[in-house]
């Protein structure tokens, strides 16, 4: 940086280099000026909070009094004593392991169906996409009404085909699957992304497969899926990060309690409760950093594995 900006000493080139270096300096100042809003935001709303929450995670801090350094006590408490922490970890992992694959499978399948060039495609697309713009609060309230065990629509419809009512959100073993169903209503967004990826798959690959007499299933498996695997990969990373931070649905449905019997006490909910209900800011910061480390670890694993299943032969990827 400084090397480029400092005036050159060699005389023959002097005039030219000077002008060039002045140009670079000019660009540097302009560039920094243009990005300065973000740069300031980075310092105030990202870097400082990162360092501060790292510090808080080693303290006992209730906001009203200054933080008191307690070493690794928060982390030790988390791992050895606090059973709620492990309940939340277990719940979140179970939820994520159900939600992430199902979201991908269903949204890819819907996109494949829409990609068959059926008539009325844009109407279907609108119907599938519309739920994704709903406020999560509305979706959560709507589903807690539809999944109501006595009067909800879902149990009423099940009864008509002879299936006895399910407790859904009031039954600890059904509460997590109910949350997954809620999330599935919102797969329209990733479906649209897959649809765009599908439309980018070069035609000639399918034509070549046709000549070899390949059937639809073979073509899907051998051409379509590899060609859209970068998009699946991208959605897998984003979906994982999202699943481990999910909060609003479960907060609204359970009124912040994570019930029944803590069966929907997700990590994000426990973290929120510690921070803003109990004002255990130190402990909550420690939880936030554990979450960050875990998310980084999972992302790295996904990235590492991507060499085996993500196909980067497509154009412009």
């Amino acid at each position: 940086m400084t090397e480029l900006a400092s005036p050159a000493r060699v005389t023959p080139h002097r005039a030219r280099s000077r002008r060039w270096s002045r140009g670079v300096r000019h660009d540097l100042i302009n560039g920094l000026l243009f990005v300065s809003p973000w740069l300031l935001g980075l310092l105030i709303f990202t870097l400082y909070p990162l360092l501060a929450s790292l510090y808080y995670s080693f303290t006992d801090f209730n906001v009203l009094q200054p933080p008191k350094f307690v070493g690794a006590a928060n982390f030790i408490d988390m791992f050895s004593q606090n059973h709620l922490f492990w309940t939340a970890v277990k719940n979140t992992l179970i939820y994520a392991l159900m939600a992430i694959p199902l979201n991908i499978i269903f949204s890819v399948c819907l996109a494949l169906l829409l990609n068959l060039k059926v008539s009325g495609m844009s109407i279907y697309r609108t119907i599938f996409y519309l739920p994704t713009i709903f406020p999560q609060v509305v979706t959560a309230l709507l589903f807690s009404w539809m999944l109501n065990p006595q009067f909800g629509l879902v149990n009423a419809l099940l009864k008509q085909i002879g299936i006895p009512g399910i407790g859904w959100l009031t039954d600890p073993s059904w509460a997590k699957p109910s949350l997954v169903v809620l999330g599935l209503w919102g797969i329209g967004g990733s479906m649209v992304i897959y649809l765009a990826a599908l439309q980018d798959v070069p035609r000639h690959l399918y034509e070549a497969a046709d000549i070899d007499g390949a059937g639809a299933l073979v073509k899907t498996w051998a051409i379509t899926l590899p060609m859209i695997s970068p998009t699946i990969f991208f959605n897998l990373v984003l979906g994982t990060i999202e699943a481990f931070q999910s909060f609003t649905f479960v907060y609204v449905i359970t009124d912040g309690k994570g019930g029944p019997l803590d069966s929907t006490l997700l990590y994000g909910l426990l973290l929120y409760r510690n921070a803003f209900s109990y004002l255990h800011m130190g402990y909550a910061s420690a939880m936030a950093w554990m979450l960050a480390l875990f998310v980084i670890l999972i992302t790295l694993i996904i990235f590492k594995s991507s060499g085996r299943w993500v196909f980067y032969g497509g154009e412009s990827h």
Binding site: G31, F34, V35, L113
Partner: protein, 290 residues
């Protein structure tokens, strides 16, 4: 190769029937999924128009008898809908304007000016996208608490002036596709960087700006966690938060609750139908360019 040597008409016939069968199967599956996806929305509308007694009738009735239009005014007066609406609109519009100003400037700095250190800072920007929000949430809350802003809408609005990493990334990708010759020609004519940004890049980037505006509006209209943490006084509540409060107070009055839910969703559903193309193109842009 052998297969392609078979008589052509047979292949065509089987191909045609197979094609028809696939189309038929696809249509059946699509219609079924579309019904499943539309059910919740229709059920919300149906419930919102039912008299109390009919809400709990089994088997469920889809068409309310009579239509209780009265549920809507009742819901709108129970929650101060227009106050919440105005609060939400204020936050959303503020964010749209501030985000457009900050993100377009920053993206210009990353895309159209070549300066030492640019690429490193851009990697930092991309890295910040991966940070889980709970990590920065608590210190950020404490900053606003120090400023005396907790309980006001300020923490939900002013930060937008510092840009949003995701939209900066999006706009930068878009700016990169605009030919550099345009800027160079203007530079030769003596235009400043700001003039190039304002007169050349901004008009050409309109589709990307629409996407950013739309998604910023939507995110702020629907946001729940931010208002939950920062807003204390009912006078300042947003629609999302107000609706949640309503649900807590009148848990079993599903007719009113669904009416309130419907009027919360309506503005963005209308927006969606007005700007459907921008939505679909925008989400494609955000999803595949990553």
């Amino acid at each position: 190769m052998l297969k392609s040597a078979q008589p052509a008409p047979i292949i065509d016939m089987s191909k045609q029937t197979r094609h028809l069968l696939t189309q038929l199967a696809a249509h059946i599956l699509l219609v079924l999924s579309a019904i499943l996806f539309a059910l919740p929305f229709l059920w919300m509308l149906s419930t919102s128009l039912k008299p109390d007694a009919q809400i709990f009738v089994l088997p469920p009735r889809w068409i309310p008898q009579p239509f209780m239009w009265n549920n809507y005014p009742r819901a709108l007066t129970y929650i101060p809908y227009f106050t919440y609406f105005n609060n939400t609109l204020y936050i959303a519009v503020f964010n749209v304007i501030a985000t457009l100003i900050s993100c377009t400037l920053v993206a210009y700095g990353f895309a159209r000016i070549n300066w030492p250190g640019r690429n490193i800072l851009f990697s930092v920007l991309l890295a910040t996208l991966m940070i889980p929000y709970p990590v920065t949430l608590i210190p950020t809350f404490l900053i606003f608490r120090q400023l005396g802003w907790v309980g006001t809408a300020n923490p939900l609005t002013w930060p937008a002036f510092f840009g949003n990493a995701f939209f900066i990334f999006l706009l930068r990708q878009f700016y990169m596709t605009i030919p550099t010759e345009l800027s160079q020609a203007a530079k030769i004519d003596g235009a400043s960087e700001f003039a190039i940004y304002w007169r050349i890049i901004m008009p050409l980037a309109r589709p990307a700006l629409a996407t950013v505006a739309l998604f910023t509006f939507l995110a702020n209209w629907n946001d729940f966690l931010g208002p939950l943490i920062y807003l204390a006084d009912k006078q300042n509540y947003t629609l999302a938060l107000g609706l949640y409060g309503f649900a807590g107070a009148r848990k079993t009055e599903w007719g009113l609750l669904m009416a309130a839910g419907t009027v919360t969703v309506m503005p963005i559903v209308i927006l969606f139908f007005l700007a459907q193309r921008t939505f679909i193109e925008g989400i494609t842009l955000t999803g595949t360019k990553g």
